[in-house]
Symmetry: C2
Subunit: 406 residues, 2 copies
């Protein structure tokens, strides 16, 4: 089993990088804090004897050789970018957990048949640059490198320039290669494991989802002398859509969720009718048809709201990923590892997107979840009991060992 203390020490030290006052971390993709987190990781990877490679998208791989260098490796990992003021567990435990597995094997002098690689994927969160899971998506052949480089954040900074700036535009090609399997440990970010009272989740699949970048362009005018019937208020139209998303998510299917998370109003002044609003829509379900139908309904609502208010609508799909169901055998490997360790577990699907969703396209893939207290994530109050983190890392260790010995 892994060393709880070493993992804990690493976890605490790592999360001093970009730490926030409210107990979270602020290390959005390609920020200075993200660079420092990457630097620390590379240092620790090298200290653990891993051979480090950085690819064109800044994905960081650390390789531990196997007895047979010709066999495709077992890949484990997750991401170390965070939300704006996000949580300390999200992504971090998957990467540091992978490193801990390597150190545990090193300490025990265990050689595996296959190489083991630990990976930290670029821009998983998608909060600064959309789409999310960009590094793993490019690795899996979904996005090409130029597409990724040309993405911009709200301030207009290019992904490629920012990657260069923080020194993580590597030489290795970012493209599919032979992998034996991919395993990822992550916090659940939802309420199911806590409700079940289990420390471990065996993840069978991931919701599909769609993201829209949308906008309404109306007309600014004075809030006082402009009669109500002469207004083209981009915020009123946006509010119609926020309400519609809530209504659609409440009625469109059991597990359908819908969120307007970001709203930017211009000129955003107390006595000016909003001229332009840029906003986002996020729709998810384990059933791709449910997502499709909801997306169509939302697009219709955007058109209706624009018509009612006399504003111009824009709506661009910036992310679409199908629902994923993981490799049956690898899922059973994870369940067996939990059984071996005597850990009661829940089988579940993930409402959050994961790098595993893209890896699932190129090799057998599965995930281990640990519970999120109150189901909370993407905020500074995100918390997981340490014993659960350790339990999940042990399940990961056993699953990795089983796969690396094949």
């Amino acid at each position: 089993t892994v060393s709880s203390d070493r993992l804990r020490e690493r976890f605490d030290e790592f999360n001093e990088i970009g730490a926030t006052d409210r107990g979270g971390v602020n290390r959005p993709s390609l920020s200075d804090a993200n660079r420092r987190a990457r630097d620390t990781l590379v240092e620790w990877f090298e200290a653990a004897g891993l051979a480090v490679t950085v690819d064109e998208l800044g994905n960081i791989f650390g390789r531990r050789p196997g007895r047979n260098a010709d066999l495709p490796p077992v890949l484990v990992g997750s991401h170390v970018d965070s939300q704006f003021n996000g949580g300390r567990y999200d992504g971090v435990i998957g990467v540091l957990g992978g490193l801990e597995i390597v150190e545990t094997l090193n300490d025990a002098g265990i050689e595996t048949e296959r190489p083991i690689e630990v990976v930290a994927w670029s821009n998983e969160e998608g909060v600064r640059f959309q789409p999310d899971m960009l590094g793993s998506g490019a690795f899996a052949g979904k996005f090409d490198v130029e597409f990724a480089y040309d993405l911009t954040d709200k301030e207009g900074n290019r992904f490629g320039d920012e990657l260069e700036r923080i020194g993580y535009r590597g030489d290795a090609p970012c493209e599919p290669r032979d992998l034996h399997c991919y395993l990822e440990l992550h916090v659940e970010q939802g309420p199911k494991l806590e409700a079940a009272g289990h420390s471990v989740g065996v993840v069978e699949g991931v919701y599909g989802f769609v993201w829209f970048d949308a906008a309404f362009e109306g007309a600014a005018d004075h809030a006082g002398p402009t009669p109500m019937h002469q207004r083209h208020d981009a915020l009123v139209a946006t509010s119609d859509v926020v309400e519609a998303v809530r209504r659609i998510a409440g009625t469109g299917g059991e597990d359908l969720v819908g969120t307007v998370g970001s709203v930017d109003v211009s000129p955003n002044a107390i006595n000016v009718i909003p001229e332009r609003v840029d906003f986002t829509v996020d729709l998810r379900s384990y059933d791709d048809d449910v997502v499709d139908q909801a997306a169509e309904k939302v697009q219709r609502e955007i058109a209706h709201a624009a018509g009612r208010e006399g504003v111009d609508p824009e709506c661009e799909e910036v992310m679409r990923i199908e629902s994923q169901s993981f490799d049956d055998d690898l899922v059973e490997t994870v369940a067996d590892a939990a059984d071996d360790l005597g850990a009661a577990y829940t089988r579940l699907v993930s409402g959050a997107g994961h790098d595993a969703s893209y890896l699932n396209r190129v090799c057998p893939t599965a995930m281990v979840f640990v519970p999120s207290v109150d189901g909370v994530s993407h905020t500074e109050g995100e918390f997981t009991e340490w014993e659960d983190v350790v339990a999940g890392t042990n399940v990961l260790l056993h699953a990795v060992l089983a796969q690396a010995s094949e």
Copy 2:
């Protein structure tokens, strides 16, 4: 009559300060551009022989002596702060019009019985620091100086510090003093004059209005795994209020208008349920009871929305001004001036707030309006035909002369 060319030259030169790409100006209160606008004004005031005084709130007065120094002066003016990316006419024509009157009298060698003062009031727009009409309000005894100094903008900058920084924290006390009357020329910012086809508006009064700074505090969480019934989405609650304001304004009284102009979402990320939204509400009518009733309804809606969504509401009234009806005699002076000049005019009330609203508390007050093309204001496309600006300035000249001779 005034010199159209001189006024035009000044107008164009003045509006190079803080000029925007889309033909507007960006000179919010106490910004660097506002400082440069003030510097230019002081220079021109002095060149026209005016004795300049700056008071504790940065209100700038330029005095032209009368034959009788003991008589209270006729005060004319408006403001030179702008909206964020606002229009070039709003406020500017009232101040430069006042200066033009002085120069016209200088050129004609006309001495008046009473002194004439031209004023540029601080922070009329209220867009950076709420409440609006701050300088005139303090002058009229509504706000005290310390209250004004302690106001902060969204970035937390204090009004007092910013005033000091731009060098316009003057020595003269900001307090009511003896004035014969106050006259203000301004663009209408609404559609009535254009609809009537008249160059001049004789303003009989100004709407009352109330401003709220409101907020909802909910809970951030992940947009994917968080079930709809477990959400406390501050943006959904805010959208309820935006819709309610629209509904209330549509039904609460003939002339009632309601606007949510500013919305700040936190953390404002595509895949995070909005934790907190800060927003504003602006409600206006010429009937104070209508404003009161609407304000109560909006406050109830805020409470209801908070209850429905399980978020905490905040609502602070940051501005309330009663509807003003101007001095009958002075209104007739303006109407007579228009008659003398053969200008057809419309009598109307203003939906926009004005420094005149506060001056009306301390001396006989009236206003002259000129039309806004398409009724548009508080945006860069604001436009008034130049001949209308000149017509309005001539009406102002004749009204000022009539009053200064009394």
